[in-house]
């Protein structure tokens, strides 16, 4: 289809690889926003998920929190924060983190809740303190699901980080916004294709990280 030949034309034009609007520059902006957002989402979601899962309390709160986070209109929140702090980077990070939070939180909680009850029982029987049970048994057991959550979050965050461009903060969304404003469709498609590729790549990277950190015994079970 002509859309893809257009993209290829745009993608292979040397000029598009240089300067502050070049592909490497926009890509690195995009990746930075995503990494920061995921770090924030994990920093909030994993501890809460671990604690609520361990104490088996607050399951309802976890679902409610993630539903609420999912209900937040990303563009709206971004506009609101940007109108208080234009051109500041943290609104984008905050909004993207809120987007990734539900997956990480719910999956961490579920992972802990579903830890093999026999293993947990044995750990308690061995005299482990609650914190040790959590960190040495429940957490490793929950790792596959935690990584699943991070994988889903990464995917969503990467594909949505295009909104940064709408408050003029760059990223791959710039090609979409710019292309839209000037009816330069190859550029719009270029931005979209790059985003999709990056999102799929993020799935790969996280799966790899999961493979490296989840112990073989647990991997075999899940």
């Amino acid at each position: 289809m002509s859309i893809f030949t257009d993209f290829w034309g745009w993608f292979t034009t040397g000029a598009n690889w240089h300067g502050s609007d070049g592909i490497p520059a926009r890509l690195s902006e995009h990746v930075q926003y995503c990494l920061l957002a995921l770090a924030l989402a994990s920093a909030v979601g994993i501890p809460i998920g671990l604690l609520t899962g361990h104490f088996r309390r607050g399951g309802l709160a976890v679902t409610a929190l993630s539903t609420a986070a999912r209900a937040l209109p990303t563009l709206g929140i971004l506009y609101v924060l940007a109108s208080y702090q234009p051109l500041a980077v943290f609104p984008v990070i905050l909004v993207l983190a809120a987007l990734g939070l539900p997956s990480i939180l719910v999956n961490t909680y579920t992972g802990v809740v579903q830890a093999d009850p026999d293993a947990v029982d044995a750990a308690r029987g061995m005299g482990m303190r609650p914190s040790q049970v959590l960190l040495r048994v429940e957490l490793p057991s929950a790792l596959p699901l935690i990584w699943l959550g991070i994988r889903l979050a990464a995917f969503q965050v990467v594909s949505t980080a295009t909104i940064a461009a709408f408050v003029s903060l760059g990223g791959l969304g710039n090609y979409i916004r710019f292309g839209l404003a000037t009816r330069d469709y190859p550029q719009v498609v270029g931005g979209a294709v790059l985003t999709v590729v990056l999102a799929l790549l993020s799935l790969l990277v996280v799966s790899l990280a999961a493979r490296l950190t989840v112990s073989k015994g647990i991997r075999a079970r899940s």
Binding site: G19, A82, L87, S168, R177, T182, R183
Partner: protein
């Protein structure tokens, strides 16, 4: 339980099918005062569009009010992308009327144009326009792109006209709407007409809205494209650089219409609006929407009444 499950599943299936049929049947939205129709428009019923900035939306609302008062059936499609998208829509008749600016429209149709005066612009515009379209009487009201700097910078670098920017082109960053970069009445023209090259130092912001104004205020950009009727220029003591070579040319408000969709009543009504508008009035109306946060439709109808157009 068997019966209940069967009942519930039938109900569910029915509900989904009903919604599906309803949606297929009405592919345009159910509210009659908005939405484009497949059939475009027929004389006697028009679609008024606008691009995505407050002044354009305001003008569209004024047109809508005036036409409705003349008994024309009007629907509006406001805040659509940018002129580039919208022009295609009016070419195909999906939009009938569009508030436009003669100079900017000409520059879009003919990037190589050198017309700078109102008459030259109007002449060339009529020649270059798609034969299905027509521009009506231009108003004396103008709203141009204008380059602005902070008062401090103007004094520091002694900046009065755009030509003075050659002094600081290496250090200044220019901010404006995304399309500014590729337009003749934008970065391209600045280079070819004034020899000021911002192609590497351009920050795409918004349609001369809050983002651009804040960026200029806090120094993220040092020169910004702000529309000349924007109240924030005065409010922030910005200095508008003069345009001796007329790069931003004549920018009179003019209704662009799809000929097959309008009749003489509509044309006369729109021309009457253009006659009643002048730059100070337009600036005042825009300020009511942007600074006073009044509803665009309210400001439009108040103006229409006070100008005796309805």
């Amino acid at each position: 339980m068997k019966r209940r499950t069967r009942l519930l599943s039938t109900l569910a299936l029915a509900a989904i099918t009903a919604t599906a049929l309803a949606a297929c049947g009405s592919s345009s939205n159910p509210v009659s005062s908005e939405g484009g129709n497949d059939s475009g428009s027929s004389a006697g019923s028009v679609v008024i569009g606008s691009t995505n900035f407050p002044e354009n939306e305001l003008l569209a609302n004024i047109y809508a009010d005036v036409l409705r008062a003349k008994g024309v059936k009007v629907s509006t499609q406001l805040n659509i992308g940018s002129r580039e998208i919208v022009y295609k829509l009016i070419q195909s008749g999906k939009i009938t009327v569009l508030p436009e600016y003669n100079g900017a429209l000409l520059a879009y149709l003919d990037p190589k144009t050198t017309a700078t005066t109102k008459d030259a612009t109007d002449q060339e515009l009529s020649a270059k326009l798609d034969p299905k379209l027509e521009v009506l009487e231009p108003s004396s009201a103008e709203d141009k792109d204008s380059l602005n700097v902070t008062k401090a910078n103007a004094e520091k670098y002694d900046l009065h006209s755009i030509a003075d920017l050659t002094k600081v082109a290496d250090t200044f960053t220019l901010g404006g709407p995304p399309e500014f970069k590729t337009r003749l009445q934008g970065v391209v023209g600045l280079k070819s007409v004034y020899g000021v090259d911002f192609s590497d130092r351009f920050q795409p912001l918004d349609e001369a809205g809050k983002l651009t104004i804040d960026a200029l205020k806090d120094g993220s950009v040092q020169v910004a494209d702000i529309f000349s009727t924007d109240p924030s220029i005065v409010a922030n003591n910005f200095v508008t650089l003069t345009d001796p070579k007329g790069l931003f040319g004549a920018q009179n408000v003019v209704p662009l219409v799809y000929k097959a969709g309008v009749n003489q009543t509509i044309v006369d009504a729109l021309n009457a609006v253009s006659a009643k508008l002048d730059t100070p009035t337009l600036a005042r109306l825009v300020s009511e929407v942007v600074s006073d946060k009044k509803d665009s439709t309210v400001v439009a109808s108040e103006f229409a009444k006070s100008a005796g157009l309805v």
